[in-house]
Subunit: 259 residues, 2 copies
C-alpha cells in the first residue's frame, strides 16, 4: 500500500516523534511505501492568503475560493500546494498525526487543509441539481482512499467520554472526520487516540505501539465510520437535511452515521 | 465598554471586511472603546514553534506547554504574544470574527489561540485537588469577560440545522465556544452566524447590519450560553464526568449546557 503520513508536531524527541518513527518503521517493514509530510520540518506556510496566487487576475477582489479555483484550473498553484495534492493523489491511505491543541488540530495542519484543499480539487466539484449536490460527503477526489486520525491529548479518557467535560472525542473529531475527510470522499477509519500523554512510560509506550501496529496491519480491513452518503437519496436536496423517515428520533452529529 | 475584535479574513473588500467596518463604526458611535487585532494585516505568525521562546532553557526538549509556561512566568514571551494577552486583559468583551473554513476557524486564528493561550495564562492555572481541577470551565483569567463568535459561511441554514448534513452549527462551534472560550472563563454569548454568503445583496446586507447592531447593543444584557461550571459540584473529580444524578438521560455536548 501507498501511505501518506501528514504529521504536525514541533519536537522530534516527543511522544509524537517516537510514535511517528514507530509508524514509519512498522509500515516499511511490512513492505508498504510511505511518504511523510512533516509540516514543521517542511516549514509549511499555514496562512491561505493572496501570496498563494501570484498569477491571479489583476484588479479583482481576493476571493479564497475563486482564486484557488482559478489557480487550480490554470496550473498556477504554488508548488508547495500542488506537491501536497500530488501526494494525496498518490496515496491509498492517509494518516493525519497531531496533538489535540484546543480541541482541534495545530494551526500548521489547519493551514495545510485550508491551502491544499483548493476549490475544484476538494470542493466545488460535480453537478449541482435537484438530485445531486456536488461530489461531496462520500464522493469526490478521495473516493476509494482511506484516512485515519492519530491524535494525542493530555486529557484522560473519562474527560472525553459521553458525559465527560470536554465532550465525547467522537463529537470533537466529527467536524474533521466528516467535514474535512469524508467531504472529498475519504473512507474514514475510527481514530487512534492516545490519552493522558504526561503519564506514558516505556511500558505504556510499548503497549501503544502494539495497539497501533495492529491498526496499521488492518488499515484495509477495518470498517470505516458509516457516514451517510449525500447523493444516494437519504438527504433532501437542496436543503440537505436527512429525510424525515430516516432515524426520525435523531438529531446532531450521530444522525449522519448509520448505526 | 472595552471591546476587542479579533478578526481573520484576508480581503478588506469582502463581506467580512464590510461587516467589520460596520461593527467598529457602530460600537464607536455608541461610545465604546474598540481595539482590533486584524490578523491578516498584522501578518500574524500562526505556527507555535521553538522560535516563540528564544530564552528557553538550552539543551532541553521543546515542550509547547512547559516552554510557554516558562516564557510566561519569566516575562520572556515574544512581544506579539504578550501584546495580545494585554489586549485580552484590557477588554470587557471579545468578538472573534472569521469565515468558517472547513468547519473551523482559518489557520491564522487557530494559531492566535495556540500561541496567545500560554500555559499559566489560559490553562494550567489554579489548584488541582479532589474538589477543584484547575481554574477552567467557568473560572480563569477571562472570568467576568464576555466573548462572542461572529461567523460567516457559504452553507445554508438548513445545512447546519439539527438534521442538516454539516451537523448543527451549535455542535460545530461547541469545541470553540466551550473548549476555547469558556475554558479560561469567558461567558460566551450565542454566536452571530451569517449563512449563504454568496447570496447577500445590498438589502440583505442592511438587514444583517440591523440584526448585528441589536446584538452589539445588548452585549451586556444577552444571557450567555449556560455552560456548566466545572468546580461547583456538578462534575466528579478527577474523572470530570457529569454526576450521574444530573440530566441522567443526556450524553454529548448538550450535557454541558443547563437547559
Amino acid at each position: 500500500m501507498k501511505i501518506l503520513l501528514v504529521y504536525a508536531h514541533p519536537e522530534p524527541q516527543s511522544l509524537n516523534g517516537s510514535i511517528k518513527k514507530f509508524l514509519i518503521n512498522h509500515l516499511e517493514n511490512k513492505g508498504h511505501h510511505v511518504q511523510v509530510s512533516d509540516l514543521y520540518s517542511m516549514n509549511w506556510k499555514p496562512t491561505l492568503d493572496i501570496d498563494d496566487y501570484p498569477d491571479r487576475p489583476a484588479n479583482t477582489r481576493f476571493n479564497p475560493s475563486l482564486d484557488s479555483q482559478y489557480a487550480f484550473e490554470h496550473n498556477t498553484q504554488r508548488e508547495d500546494i500542488a506537491l501536497e495534492q500530488d501526494k494525496l493523489r498518490w496515496a491509498d491511505t492517509v494518516i493525519f498525526q497531531f496533538p489535540l491543541w484546543w480541541f482541534s488540530m495545530p494551526a500548521i495542519l489547519k493551514g495545510w487543509f485550508d491551502r491544499v484543499y483548493a476549490y475544484g480539487f476538494a470542493y466545488g466539484v460535480g453537478e449541482h441539481s435537484d438530485h445531486h449536490w456536488g461530489d461531496r460527503y462520500g464522493e469526490g477526489i478521495m473516493a476509494g482512499k482511506r484516512a485515519m486520525l492519530l491524535v494525542t491529548t493530555g486529557g484522560w479518557p473519562s474527560h472525553y467520554s459521553p458525559r465527560g467535560i470536554n465532550g465525547p472525542i467522537e463529537d470533537i473529531l466529527f467536524p474533521i472526520e466528516h467535514g474535512i475527510l469524508y467531504y472529498p470522499g475519504f473512507d474514514v477509519l475510527p481514530p487512534f487516540v492516545i490519552y493522558h500523554t504526561s503519564k506514558i512510560d516505556e511500558e505504556k509506550f510499548l503497549t501503544i505501539c502494539d495497539q497501533l501496529g495492529e491498526r496499521l496491519d488492518t488499515l484495509w480491513q477495518t470498517p470505516p465510520i458509516a457516514f451517510r452518503s449525500q447523493n444516494t437519496g437519504m438527504y433532501t436536496i437542496p436543503d440537505l437535511t436527512l429525510r424525515a423517515d430516516i432515524a426520525p428520533e435523531q438529531a446532531g452529529f450521530n444522525t449522519h452515521i448509520v448505526k
